[in-house]
């Protein structure tokens, strides 16, 4: 079963080192069946703009380098120190419904605060 996880690294080079350790051939092509998307320094806060499109405040970018992996099987434990969890909307995912469902369920187990429970059932 494919499993989806999100990671962040202190720099692009440390991410690249970790990714390459999964296996590459002499041409730099991956020798594994995992799918990797390098999101880079993601936007944490959108910029603001006036009505003419001129920037008022610039977007705030993450200092960390973000990487999403669709693992072909269980995630590598070597990557656990870089794993991140977040609310499941407004982010990047892979188009595998079963993998998204597993990731969302795991996220809820570890971070129930991202899944608000209704305070009171309305009659």
């Amino acid at each position: 079963m494919k499993k989806f996880r999100k990671y962040k690294f202190g720099s692009k080079s440390s991410a690249t080192t970790k990714i390459n350790a999964l296996g590459i051939d002499e041409d730099g092509n991956p020798t594994h069946n995992h799918s990797i998307v390098k999101l880079g320094n993601i936007v944490l806060e959108n910029g603001t703009y006036d009505e003419d499109g001129e920037e008022i405040t610039p977007p705030v970018l993450s200092d960390d380098y973000h990487v999403d992996v669709l693992w072909d099987g269980d995630p590598s434990e070597d990557w656990d120190n870089q794993i991140v969890w977040c609310k499941p909307l407004g982010v990047h995912t892979f188009g595998s419904s079963s993998a998204i469902a597993e990731w969302t369920q795991k996220c809820k187990e570890l971070h129930p605060e991202y899944f608000p429970v209704p305070e009171e059932l309305e009659l």
Binding site: S35, G47, V91, H92, S97
Partner: protein, 574 residues
């Protein structure tokens, strides 16, 4: 003997199942190709409609006494909407009467159930989560009553008193409920209704019901399902595409409306999930903001969307100029597409007729800064004018992807989504390459990234023979054939024409007696060379679009003999 009879392997894509593409020859299955793509995708099906993954994300979708929680009466074996005896009598025992299931799905989704009045005539569908969304349905009048935090609520008459009730919303779920209600927007204090076949799915519309038991079920173009694509054709092609991400977090939905109203009309999917933007009468700009994509300064993106003429003949769409200064103007009557903006790539603009008045428009733009970019979909333009409530334009399927050409539509419902590359593996048992051979490939439309040479077809024996087709590294068009034997190149062609925006047919023949290797394209001998090859033991063959290419395969033939020049010419003549 016809040329086709000589082939040991014939693949004309027409029959598939998950992870498999059936060959016409051999018929014992040895020549069937294996296929993989570890994500969902979309295609244009034989009806000319866009087809997506289907799903039911609920468990035990019609076994309400299992997995679902309820303190009320649930009695199966009732007469259903579909002629079955699979419906359930839902009877109040405690007030309020509830049947519910935990769920963690997120984004734009539709929750539906079939229901029929009994001693009560109402049902309330409630999706608890980050927004808490619900609607009351009157099963006597067949109407949607009060609702909260929904994108849409629908009730569809299924006959014999049955209705399919559905709510569409955008949130992360915690629980999905059905309440027994009366028809006055209140939970009922007594009575019963009939329920059957609950479903939760991504998107704006309730599609055909899929039964589930202990896990969610995915169908349609889901993981590892090959795509026979009928875009602009009556005969299908096997569509192979590279990995691409639709960076737009919402490709079919917005709630950011600027002096327009939003309703839903039939899309290129054949469902009511296209946006109809209708002007208000204010004297101002009339547009919807489609949110949003994260882009990186200096990177080229392909921007695409579907549009259908409403009342304006000329319509213009814009991107947020602070990130990508870009706009496209399409004139329906003359099918004229114009591109504007300092970040727009003139000449990249293109459109494809999807039928029923829908066009897919695309063009390239390069981000001038790093950040998020919105799309501004207008009814006419961003100019200010007094609108009319009878003026509208329809939109669907917004996509921004890194690259110089658009790939097939990738739907998104609250997150950006990556569709992984398609990969075809040709079984070793389907070819015997230790003597004369011929290979024929009939390609439809193909695309690549300029300046990049990548392998699209390989046939490799254990280090002795390595036959590969590469895209040419320069320009948009061109294909190179390489053949390496025992470590050294024995054949290499210059890039040819005919590869790119037009279909092309190639054939490579090798005669082991004479050592003649010949390369034919589109009905002509393009290049030839003489070299005696050493084969070794064959090991693998595969076709892949790799990271950069898109291609359609209409036909693949392998011959364990050298075709004559005339046979090769006949096969490759367009």
């Amino acid at each position: 003997m016809s040329t086709y009879n000589k082939a040991s392997l014939i693949l004309i894509p027409s029959g598939t199942k998950t992870s498999k593409i059936y060959s016409q020859k051999p018929i014992n299955g040895d020549g069937d190709f294996t296929f993989s793509r570890s994500t969902m995708a979309t295609r244009v099906n034989e009806s000319g409609l866009i087809e997506k993954e289907t799903q039911n994300l609920l468990l035990q979708s019609n076994s309400f006494d299992t997995t679902w929680n309820s303190d009320d009466g649930l009695t199966g074996g009732q007469s259903g909407y579909d002629g079955s005896n699979d419906a359930w009598l839902f009877t109040l025992a405690t007030n309020p009467a509830i049947v519910r299931q935990a769920n963690t799905s997120g984004g734009v989704q539709t929750y539906s159930v079939y229901a029929k009045g009994n001693t009560n005539n109402g049902i309330r569908l409630y999706a608890f989560g980050s927004s808490n969304c619900y609607a009351f349905f009157d099963l006597n009048a067949g109407t949607v009553e009060s609702n909260q935090n929904l994108i849409d609520a629908t009730i569809e008459d299924k006959g014999n008193g049955w209705y399919r009730c559905a709510i569409t919303f955008n949130q992360t779920n915690t629980q999905l409920y059905m309440y027994l209600s009366n028809n006055q927007n209140l939970n009922a204090s007594s009575g019963s209704i009939l329920i059957q076949d609950a479903q939760l799915e991504q998107g704006l519309a309730a599609r055909d019901y899929i039964e589930t038991t202990t896990s969610a079920v995915y169908g349609g173009i889901t993981d590892n399902v090959p795509r026979l694509d009928y875009t602009d054709a009556t005969c299908p092609s096997l569509l192979l595409e590279p990995t691409r991400t639709n960076l737009m977090t919402h490709s079919e939905f917005t709630n950011v409306l600027n002096n327009v109203t939003l309703s839903y009309v039939e899309s290129p999917e054949g469902l009511n999930n296209a946006m109809r933007l209708t002007e208000t009468t204010s004297n101002s700009q009339h547009y919807a903001t489609i949110e949003n994509a994260l882009v990186t300064s200096g990177v080229k993106y392909s921007i695409s969307f579907f549009i259908k003429k409403g009342t304006h003949d000329q319509v213009r769409l814009y991107t947020q100029s602070s990130t990508i200064n870009f706009s496209l103007r399409f004139t329906f009557s003359s099918e004229t597409l114009e591109i504007f903006g300092t970040d727009a790539e003139t000449g990249s603009e293109n459109f494809v007729d999807y039928g029923n008045g829908w066009y897919r428009i695309s063009a390239n733009g390069t981000a001038n800064s790093t950040g998020t970019v919105d799309i501004y979909a207008t009814t006419k333009s961003l100019g200010s004018y007094t609108g009319s409530t009878s003026d509208y334009t329809d939109y669907y399927g917004f996509q921004i992807e890194e690259g110089s050409y658009p790939t097939s539509y990738i739907p998104t419902y609250g997150t950006s989504v990556t569709r992984n590359a398609d990969y075809v593996d040709i079984p070793q048992s389907s070819y015997n390459i230790n003597n004369s051979f011929s290979i024929h490939l009939d390609f439809g439309i193909t695309k690549k990234i300029e300046g990049v040479s990548t392998n699209i077809y390989s046939l490799i024996t254990n280090e002795d023979l390595n036959f590969q087709l590469y895209t040419n590294s320069s320009g948009n068009d061109g294909l190179n054939v390489y053949l390496k034997n025992q470590g050294g190149y024995v054949f290499g062609s210059n890039p040819n024409d005919g590869w790119g925006n037009t279909a092309s047919k190639i054939c490579v023949t090798y005669n082991a007696n004479t050592g003649r290797l010949a390369y034919f394209i589109n009905g002509s001998l393009y290049n030839e060379q003489t070299s005696i090859l050493s084969f070794g033991t064959h090991s693998t063959a595969y076709i892949t679009p790799s990271a950069n290419n898109l291609m359609e395969i209409k036909k693949y033939l392998f011959f364990e003999s050298a075709l004559t020049d005339q046979e090769a010419i006949n096969l490759t003549t367009i």
